[in-house]
Point group: C2
Chain length 201, copies 2
Amino acid sequence: MDLLERRIKEDGRVLPGDVLKVDSFLNHQVDPVLMAEVGQEFQRHFAQAPVTKILTVESSGIAPAVFTGYAFKVPVVFARKHKSVTLKDDMYTSVVYSYTKKVSNHIAIARKFLSADDKVLIIDDFLANGQAVEGLIDIINQAGAQLLGVGIVIEKTFQKGRQLLDKREIPVYSLARIKAFENGHVVFTEEQEQPDGGQQG
Amino acid sequence: MDLLERRIKEDGRVLPGDVLKVDSFLNHQVDPVLMAEVGQEFQRHFAQAPVTKILTVESSGIAPAVFTGYAFKVPVVFARKHKSVTLKDDMYTSVVYSYTKKVSNHIAIARKFLSADDKVLIIDDFLANGQAVEGLIDIINQAGAQLLGVGIVIEKTFQKGRQLLDKREIPVYSLARIKAFENGHVVFTEEQEQPDGGQQG
């Protein structure tokens, strides 16, 4: 998605440890016009998929997820993050390790909002080591729901998240794919390197 | 906003302690089509206000705030919540007490996203005791920015938040105003009781 890659080049900041800060338009300050484009692009890509529900994790996933939900006209559920969790009968929970923050969080979704009838599209802001997406997939499996695909705003192709998903043959569509950081600059993969995650339905 | 009041009557659940659960369309599962209507309604109401930025608090404020930002075509900044905070030069911070959870949280906004030139509209999901809004106002004051108004999805008129804001002559527009819970049912204020918060700009 050219619009997004341009924005990352203009406003993203590369910090030590391969951290890309995009807090001016994605995960602290949000550009809602860009997010609406993001949502429409996910809908175009997964248009053939009979999506009944969008899943994401608070907080940075919410903005791209709700605009995707708007484009599909389906509900969005955001998993809550907790430092610890009191296991409750009415919640699905999973554990997500954050490599960036070096802490484990529990994520939880109320059972009543995810059932075996649901066909789910996961939307998230970043795919790096894939831990958040793995946690959501665990919850989808607990519910007996069907995962149709994963839409990612920014993917770091050099971390292991993408391979984990490819190995399980889950269709992944990332709007910007970063293959490296060189001298503080972002290097994107070429367009043709994008595997086709669009074989839906 | 009739659409919202109907939805609260149909899908909201009243729990002991005057707690209204609206997690099926607002703060866990989100109805993005309703949120788009909410954003458009805030924009219609505050149309004369020269808003440059929308402020909210993670996580439940994000969905209504980003659709409001989309309607105004301005950026949205969501304050991050932290149990504790390391005071940093590059952040504005404030303390917010939650009466529901009986804990204090710190909220923080990066200084670079709020300046003395900004004219701010605060959007939040609930107004009860007004603590979250007060925290955001504290941060707006620290930045020397101007507060133009507050847009609330659901207000509990019988708690003190609204009076706090009225006393400071801050224009408040709430889409649904609950005056009481009676036998597990929601009682809304009458339309004409809504003070005019629309005298903007």
